[in-house]
Symmetry: D2
Subunit: 397 residues, 4 copies
């Protein structure tokens, strides 16, 4: 892949959000030798990542609804202890460059959605405009390819519609001027239309509709998702298989997530909260038993800022039915946990595209709560699958 | 194996201790249909355990230094909430039968060790007597084989001696009347001399001397150990690989273990504590990095009885060096966590013997903090290895 | 008071519930010398409790909707690890005696409430029947007095009505055949009508209506409540004043309560949950600041049985605004935490009645989340007030 | 007191340490309107602190062994997340002024101690020089008075000597050229000799010798200490009285403290660790029962920097002996917890001096693990005593 000598584009939907900004700042800091590769799975010593595009060869752009400068967002995050003091100053030029490549996106609504400048647009028009932005980015910067990654706010679960079931029905509805897709899926449609692989980083619907899967396969495009594991679920996916392997009977798994910042505020709204908790509970039921008791809470605690705390309590039975328990508390910085995974996913998905793979990338399930293309939800097994995938990619190059 | 129609003996060194008593009570309760198989790895639905001797075909005996009846110890454990109320009454006959098969063991000391009745004996005499007890048990009850499992109190780390290095030197020293083995190793020597496989369930030296490995291989005997994972280390072996796979940099892993009962009292003595903490730290260094900071404490808290609590705190760095943390608390009943593993190890080691395997059983590393015959310390990888091993055993039968 | 030589009755509304059963078993066990006084505040060494009726002089009776024998409930609790093994056998006679004194109670509903045998009754008729049961208990057993304590299931918050505002309006409505009281308040009305002091042990409305306060004062009767502190709130009332005294700024206080058994099942219904969480949050707002962020969750986890776990997370700021945190986990047996307080409240309220006090007993606020007759919510200050009250009671005797 | 119009000096022994630096930075930030009063007990709304010297009227100086500039230390702390980004820049002048008032101190050793420039000095000479530094500070800056506060590294417990028992014996030994005091006590001796009140902020011996108490009383000087409560012990002093008041029987209280930075490194040395853990356990024994089981650990975890984590586990029994537990985790910034207390103690001790009080200030026990002049160790009772003391001070002014 390196042979092409061309760089890889990373197009972030939600490009001025905390996760995107941290990814851009981090990539620039690593390139400048100001930060280590901590948290980047594919850059880890021993990981078979040598056939992936180099971190230094990633170029960033994206869509966002807001217009404030990326540097302002970065300053906010620095004040919130996401970056070490003094990191941003030497990276100003990189942030300005990324800022130049952010275009105004599409926002859905009760009636007609709105495109750049707030103009009412049909979804077909919107998709065309979004795709054009991405194509322009790819061509103008002479990029080998562009991976589109959705890191915008979580949406409510989508209500099923016949137009979601196959591509012909979907395109017919769109060309008739109907608005039938949630915004995250419109972005996926635009990405595929532009010939770009797509990653669902959030629990939103995105590419997870039969019609879009059909489109991806038709165009020979891989996609991955959804809902990156960055805390509670990461722990669960490491611990639930342990209980199962030890034949310890988990009776109840209860969890409380305290989130500050934007993520918390979004996620406590009933719709997005439903998406998130469905995505969270699915894994436990699958890894253990659907009858495991317990509730998962997501609370917005604004004073926590970019930080989050998850407490999980597991009530289990041991030999002769003796009741025992385990609890953990995970305290992390949300955007610092998510951002390196964005870089990993960009590299892996780009390489999969280069290797000619299409459809859901089950081997990337390691990163997700609700992985497409695989039934494996245990952390260790997912990691083995990921390594094998990365090692095998070379064969296609 | 089932074809022989003969039962398998389980010879417990420390047969009146909490772990042994719980194993005997539990096996009887399961046989009587009074308890489920919770905590028994090899009896778990989906585990390829059909070529292992049946749980119902295990027969118990052992050595101990103490003379109080097994039922008294069982009553004590019931009062300490290890068994549900009313479990013991219908099992009286089984406990009495096991009681009948317990012989007085060997105790080391500053000068000459002591055998049955407190008589001073040389280690060679002692080994002969211990082996004779086991052989008598096997022949009298017409057992297919006997697995010897050491569940007695943890010893201090052993000081290396030239006699430990090869079998000839060891046997020469013993026949010269010298006492050169720690008691756990004397039991291993006796077991091998009696033609029995051996399992180190504790951190004591046991079979882990080159001279004893030589003996085991010479006699075609398998062995396994050491130091069963039942709490903190079990969690560590599931979580440390997760941090490593995610490229999160663990800076410090600190642990405090509060233990009641006999185990706590033994383990706070400086010698045994050294054995235990060495065994505990080894895994973290191996799975993560030897420079990980942190101390592990083992405190005796008598009022906790058979219960234990472990608290671990992990300080780690994420992307851009942001400091984060994870902590867990594990609250379990020590003997209820250990006892089903005794049954698993008896079944697996018996099957390995039947299959003609000799030397350390690395595939049983799943059960141990400091596994013999393997370098793999991650929980999930160990579980895969165990399953493959169990599935393959059939081929030998 | 001891001079009267007469015993004190404790009339438990919800007499076959876990809390009532544990109180009856515990009082009997203490009388029989089979248990210590652990958890009994007023029996604690150094507490000025010598003017209170003796624990041994308490006699139990009550109302309940269910008919199963008290011994069955006690066996259930023993199986759930609330009592040590073997405690119940020697207490059979005491449980049978208490069982004899339990009468069928009143249950509200959508339409007309139901009395004994399920017969539809007006609230006026019901109150008369309930009061008659209590009077019969007092006279037949020649008791000095009877304290009525409500330990039945939590009700939803009551919708205000004009009939609640004064006694005349209430009695007018009742005699007109209207059902205007929630069941807990009907019991309070019956208790006062029977000349008995009343204690609200739960968050239900009970005596907390102006009309009932008027009745209590008119009859010269003391009352106390409501919602006993037995875990999370107990901790909060000890810790919130510490943060305040240290000028540490609490930004968010979040809590999750995992409850098994009947209490959990009742409390997750929206109505009772509202009562409980209102009662819980009130204290934090009062002790700290109403702007403290955070949510309190009450989850039913049936497999926890009689046990409960509360996890609280406190985000606070220290000097120069540095963010810090504290978290605690409380793991207790609900009925064992509540039952001794029932005994304490019976003794204290009886003594207050003997001393001629009427109206809300603010000095008993120590026991409650939402205390009547006081604004003090800090644990230590409440304890001082309680001691002074108990010490002063003697003066009235 | 404000009437004098003169400022109050705060002389910090260990003036370039983390606690002292944070106190100086914080006082300057508050004066400049850049920080709030969070964490300052005596500046809290509602605290009767109006007769205390104003925070703005405190002037800082002190002794230290090290020569690096205060601003360097402050930068280090800012990098360690003790200060918000950008706080230091506007405070440069204040730090430089405090830096000007730091003199080289005295360091003990195996043989003769060393004074400024590393010259060997007798303790009598050293005391004279130290006192002269303080007097010069007071006179040159025309201060109303100077409070000396010891915030230097913790020393090992002192071995009792006859010279500690009375002032005459001490002064005789000193004038004979003998070195009989630990450094912290030499500083107390110098402070009293200079006519200054003294505060022991650490567990070191300081003023806690009969000979020094005699000197303080002779000169009419108050003193306070020792070992400020800033985390685990603060929690314990709030929670232990709660268990006692509720008659819950604490069986074991175990604690693990993870400390980074200088404090951690000092405290794991056996001597200082002994001082610290003695100071920590004393309170629990006093508040609960000396037979409470449990160990307290202090671990140095360098990667935690200025942050500390304490985990405590409390095993207690409730009604009928049912075992329950509570655990807490306190995560705080050590110097940010300590520094505001330095300011509080300076203000309170200065006011006590102005009011003519001499000897140990028991009412300041609120701040200390091992308070001089009082037996009260419960947090709430200590706070009441502190408020009464502060309110009464006015009467003396």
């Amino acid at each position: 892949m390196q042979r092409t000598g061309r760089r890889t584009g990373v197009w972030l939907v939600g490009a001025r959000g905390a996760v995107a900004t941290t990814a851009v700042v981090g990539a620039a800091a690593i390139r400048a030798g100001l930060a280590e590769l901590t948290g980047c799975v594919t850059a880890c010593e021993g990981f078979p990542g040598d056939r992936l595009p180099a971190l230094d060869d990633l170029v960033f752009g994206g869509h966002d609804l807001h217009g404030f400068p990326l540097t302002d967002r970065a300053e906010e995050l620095a004040a919130g202890r996401v970056f070490p003091a003094g990191l941003l100053e030497p990276l100003e030029k990189d942030l300005a460059a990324a800022d130049q490549e952010i275009r105004e996106g599409y926002v859905g609504g009760e009636g007609r959605g709105r495109g750049p400048g707030g103009a009412a647009v049909s979804q077909e028009e919107a998709a065309r405009a979004l795709a054009a932005d991405i194509v322009d980015f790819r061509e103008r910067l002479e990029l080998a390819r562009v991976v589109v990654i959705h890191v915008a706010s979580t949406e409510a679960p989508v209500r099923p519609r016949p137009e979601h079931e196959n591509l012909a029905a979907l395109e017919k509805a769109l060309s008739a001027g109907a608005d039938v897709l949630p915004p995250s899926s419109l972005y996926a449609y635009a990405a595929f239309s532009a010939g770009c692989p797509y990653v669902d980083f959030t629990p939103s619907t995105g590419a997870r509709l039969p019609a879009l899967d059909e489109l991806a396969r038709q165009r020979g495009l891989p996609y991955a998702g959804r809902d990156a594991k960055t805390g509670e679920t990461l722990m669960q996916s490491a611990l639930a298989p342990m209980f199962a392997a030890r034949a310890l009977r988990v009776r109840a798994w209860s969890g409380t997530n305290l989130l500050g910042g934007g993520d918390g505020a979004t996620l406590v709204a009933p719709g997005p909260a439903a998406s998130k908790t469905m995505s969270k509970r699915r894994g436990l039921g699958h890894l253990l038993d659907d009858r495991v008791e317990g509730t998962v809470h997501i609370d917005c605690v604004p004073s926590l800022g970019e930080w989050k705390t998850a407490w999980d309590h597991v009530a289990f039975e041991g030999f002769l039915g003796v009741p025992m328990s385990m609890q953990f508390t995970w305290q992390g910085c949300d955007s610092a946990l998510a951002a390196p995974l964005v870089l990993d996913l960009a590299r892996l998905t780009a390489a999969a595209h280069a290797a000619g793979l299409a459809g859901p990338l089950g081997a990337l399930g390691f990163f997700f709560k609700d992985p497409a293309g695989t039934d494996e939800l245990g952390q260790a097994a997912q990691y083995q699958a990921l390594r094998s995938f990365a090692a095998a990619l070379g064969g296609h190059a």
